[in-house]
């Protein structure tokens, strides 16, 4: 009995269901939650492929961080979903074209490349232990160090540009300088009046 097959089909069905719900749900928050679930189910599928590091990282990064921020934004914005769904007939033909081309591309890829693929690509990596995490770390920091660092720099660039775009001085923002607040002396805030002052 191969239990993995059943696990695979179970979670694949759940994944397809929640992925469809991301598009079909008529509430933006619920769409986001279904997206969270689809990340979760795909993490389970990766786990079946013995990629335990990647699947845990998928949950940690996408579910634990990215989607939380996403949900945060979606909740704050009052998205009117009915207005967004109005042009269904208008966009149907172009949507169908995109869908078909994607589907054909995927089918083409899976039909061709898995049969005739150069299997060397799978064994090119130096395996140093049974542990998926260790292998991945070893390969990333030796053979693919340059690509890895470039990806990191690109991400840093993204962070810096996002901050510069949003962090503009505005007259509305109230900024408190903690060191100024701590440096306050008694004389600046309290004035002790003697009896003569009151008269």
């Amino acid at each position: 009995m191969n239990i993995e097959i059943y696990v695979f089909y179970f979670f694949s069905v759940l994944l397809l269901f929640s992925a469809a719900n991301v598009v079909l749900s008529n509430n933006a928050v619920k769409s986001a939650i279904h997206l969270v679930f689809s990340f979760f189910f795909s993490a389970v599928l990766w786990l079946i492929l013995n990629a335990e590091f990647l699947s845990v990282i998928l949950i940690l990064v996408y579910v634990g961080a990215v989607m939380v921020l996403f949900l945060f934004v979606v909740m704050m914005l009052d998205v009117n979903i009915t207005a967004l769904k109005e042009g269904f007939v208008k966009y149907f033909s172009s949507g169908l074209a995109v869908f078909l081309s994607m589907a054909i591309l995927l089918i083409f890829f899976f039909q061709r490349d898995f049969d005739e693929s150069d299997k060397n690509i799978l064994v090119e990596i130096n395996v140093i232990s049974d542990d998926n995490t260790e292998n991945l770390g070893y390969v990333l920091y030796t053979e693919y160090l340059l690509a890895f660092e470039i990806a990191a720099v690109i991400l840093l660039l993204g962070i810096i540009s996002a901050i510069t775009l949003t962090h503009r001085k505005s007259s509305v923002t109230k900024y408190q300088n903690p060191s100024e607040q701590i440096d306050v002396k008694k004389e600046e805030r309290i004035k002790i009046l003697s009896d003569e002052d009151l008269k």
Binding site: V29, E52, V56, L60, V63, G64, F72, M75, D131, T133
Partner: protein
């Protein structure tokens, strides 16, 4: 037959962990009320049983028998799933916690990552509870809590990166074993700044005083769970205390040698060798639980902008600098912690 045996065995183990855990949670609430009571010159609960010892059981019965009120126009499905989403990750994490040198339900290699991933999920319970309640107080509370949890999770993650750099493994048993050799070999000493940051971020993650702006009673009543009652509220309560115990046990494992004896490589070692590892782990964990209760009784609530500043502008840079320093120390094999 093999599957059946495996599943049965695991179920027994789960019951052995979860049932005492619930009891400990119940008596953590009791000891919290008693300890804070004495710290504030009060008696705490005294009526149910001798010196109030049965109070948590009375509370449980009360919470179970109360009605769950669902607010009008609330999202019914999400309103009821939010407490479950909050509780399940905090229960699941216990599967990888090594309770002694022999006992851990799932001794997985990526244990530390597993813990990080699961603890990052509990924020969904908070956010969804706040949103589904259709209440402004609840929504404000969940917004505050989400921003706070995200801010401190990063510092917490980096503190654990420091731990795994010294230990050289993501497996919790191996992290404990790499701290062998007495109190001075435990990671609290070489990673002292990271230990403090992990401890403080842990308090912030569990939304406890002095970081409890998400439920700040004087401002937003009870924050994200203001609309919850009965057993649904009890689940939030349970998750909060379970996270409190979890953070305490994680601090003991990561920085205080887990189940290792504190008398290792001293003249007392031979006198205490017969004490099981579980005892030492419990003592350490109970100490940190007490520390959390003590902090709650002592410190006033942080201002919101100060919480954010502490997380992003103080903790995060300190962890980054310390990881860099740690890398240098590992490179030069500084004895006795960083030598392989």
């Amino acid at each position: 037959m093999n599957y059946f045996y495996f599943i049965f065995n695991t179920l027994i183990e789960i019951i052995f962990v979860v049932a005492p855990l619930f009891l400990i949670v119940a008596y953590t609430t009791y000891s919290e009320r008693k300890i804070i009571g004495y710290m504030q010159s009060r008696m705490g609960p005294t009526r149910v049983g001798p010196s109030g010892i049965l109070q948590p059981i009375a509370d449980v019965i009360k919470l179970i028998s109360k009605e769950i009120i669902i607010p009008s126009n609330a999202d019914r499905g999400l309103f009821l799933t939010a407490p479950v989403i909050m509780l399940v990750p905090s229960l699941l994490v216990w599967s990888v916690i090594p309770l002694s040198e022999y006992f851990v339900i799932a001794d997985i290699n990526a244990g530390l990552l597993f813990i990080l991933a699961l603890t990052s999920l509990s924020v969904y319970g908070v956010i969804l509870a706040g949103w589904a309640s259709n209440s402004k107080y609840a929504f404000l509370g969940s917004m505050r809590s989400a921003a706070q949890i995200i801010a401190y999770e990063i510092a917490m993650g980096f503190a654990l990166v420091g731990v795994l750099m010294v230990a050289g493994s993501l497996n919790l048993q191996e992290i404990i074993l790499s701290q062998k050799g007495g109190i001075l070999n435990w990671f609290w000493l070489p990673l002292f700044p990271l230990f403090l940051i992990y401890l403080i971020s842990g308090i912030a993650e569990t939304n406890r005083a002095p970081f409890d702006v998400s439920e700040g009673e004087s401002e937003i009543v009870a924050g994200f769970h203001v609309e919850y009652s009965g057993i649904a509220f009890a689940m939030f309560f349970l998750a909060e205390y379970m996270n409190l115990i979890l953070i305490s046990i994680l601090v003991s494992i990561m920085f205080f040698g887990g189940w290792l004896s504190p008398f290792e490589s001293t003249f007392l070692e031979s006198y205490f060798y017969w004490i099981p590892g579980f005892f030492w782990l419990s003592i350490k964990t109970l100490f940190f639980i007490f520390l959390f209760l003590w902090l709650r009784a002592t410190l006033p609530r942080y201002r919101y902008d100060q919480i954010m500043r502490l997380g992003w502008k103080i903790f995060l840079p300190i962890t980054l600098i310390w990881i860099f320093l740690e890398g240098i120390m590992i490179y030069y094999n500084v004895e006795p912690w960083f030598s392989k």
